[in-house]
Symmetry: C2
Subunit: 263 residues, 2 copies
DNA sequence: CGCCATTTGTACGTATGTATT
DNA sequence: CAATACATACGTACAAATGGC
């Protein structure tokens, strides 16, 4: 409205060529009703078609690739992407690794959102899950049990598959993808942080069994309670680690800074 | 495990230079404990430091810019980004514009997630909102009322500000940002779709007033009911439009395809 | 198997616009 | 205004990967 630009202004003031090219490619996809996996013109063709240099085309394509709007296969071509939430995962993961003040805050928030989604969808989940789904969930818990302590990575994979299978039957694909994306972010960030106590594998397995049991009985209240019981210890561990870090930060602050110069 | 690669394999088989550069820049930010707004080395410096050409550096920087991990101000320099959810918004918006089968499905899912988040956070919201927040919310509804029908865009902005103000006081910044991001996606996608009936402005205002009233009284149940009442008509309109589209698609399908050839 | 065409990836050089000093 | 530093854009050349011959 006024000529004074408040720092946080839309960058679209002067659309860079790359932006234009990017929009043009998106329009191409939309106008031609392309679907994920469909091939796109090669970079050279885009150059002539859009009248831009290959550098600009490439930068635009790369930005779209980050959003999974296009997918680039080297030596093969460019295709319409799968439109996954990979960008959300990468962005949140970095935020979690960066988070200046409190490393665990983002993890706590992440866990809270996951629980929020699963609890909020509880009734819908119960109504959706088939016997087949429930059997598959039981099988996943069994597999989890077998792997147990001697395969931490496999254990995590089972946990992921469990929560995926729990949400995926829903007709709302967005929530299931979001839920899974948050799981992925957690899995990326958690290992990089120190002071987070080990996962209670036996407890996790018991929690999952309780969740399946409640679901099988169509017990919505029990289902929600089981979910709460499942997430409570995670939140507790995060809170402990957080308190630990804060205490440590205090003592370190008292000792003075010793890493001021890095460059 | 086996040499046979199942199509959906991690692309990380051979990390391209650009990927490495991208990771290197992220590591630089993390190792130096940089915060949003802090300056990054210029492209030339990154070239020498990472031993890559400008092309690779530039492409890497652009991909990070999409994720708002870095922010480039032309003629100025490169800085650590604000880590917003802009990538999520852009990705979901495109998905909404693309969605082949059902244009309104993504909007319905979006609305559902928003309601899910706000309802799931109801108690926390009530516990968090101060009198100041409530006054601000009332003021926003008043402003909404004044603008009314003669300023559709301003009306939408007020709606956005309302829901933002509702969630922002929460200590979980992730949920408030997600909620707002979904609002943004809706605002981007909705105008591009035909057949979605006009918003009931008077009803929206009344809904918002009911929400604030319940919040002021600390009435959790009433708050949740007010939210449900607020989102119900949106979902109904979406369902109507969806049914309309499906009916139209059926008749069109009977008329035959006429856009088979594009290339 | 090698060869070749296509396509993307990387590198370098140069010119231009823009913001700061 | 001039100088400087930076980002933007273009063009070209070659390297590497993929698939078909």
């Amino acid at each position: 409205m006024s000529p004074s630009r408040p720092q946080e202004f839309r960058t679209a003031a002067r659309p860079s060529l790359r932006q234009e090219v990017s929009e043009a490619i998106k329009s191409y996809i939309l106008d031609n009703r392309l679907r994920p996996g469909d091939p796109l013109p090669s970079e050279a063709e885009l150059c002539t078609a859009l009248g831009a240099s290959r550098s600009s085309i490439r930068e635009a394509v790369k930005t779209l690739a980050v959003l999974d709007i296009v997918e680039v296969r080297r030596g093969h071509g460019t295709y319409v992407g799968r439109l996954s939430l990979s960008a959300l995962v990468e962005g949140l993961a970095f935020r979690g690794l960066l988070s200046p003040e409190d490393d665990f805050r983002i993890l706590a928030e992440l866990t809270e959102v996951r629980e929020l989604i699963e609890r909020g969808m509880a009734e819908r989940i119960l109504a959706t899950l088939t016997d087949e789904d429930l059997d598959a969930l039981d099988a996943l818990v069994d597999e989890m049990d077998e792997r147990g302590a001697h395969d931490g990575e496999g254990f995590a994979e089972c946990d992921r598959a469990f929560h995926r299978r729990l949400m995926e039957p829903l007709d709302n694909k967005l929530v299931s993808q979001l839920s899974l994306a948050f799981w992925d972010v957690y899995a990326i960030v958690a290992p990089h942080l120190k002071g987070i106590s080990e996962e209670d594998e036996a407890g996790t397995i018991a929690d999952h069994r309780a969740i399946v049991r409640a679901a099988r009985e169509g017990d919505a209240d029990g289902f929600v309670r089981a979910l709460a019981g499942h997430y409570a210890p995670v939140r507790r561990r995060l809170a402990e680690a957080r308190a630990d870090t804060e205490a440590r930060a205090d003592t370190e602050a008292a000792e003075g800074d010793e890493r001021a110069a890095t460059a």
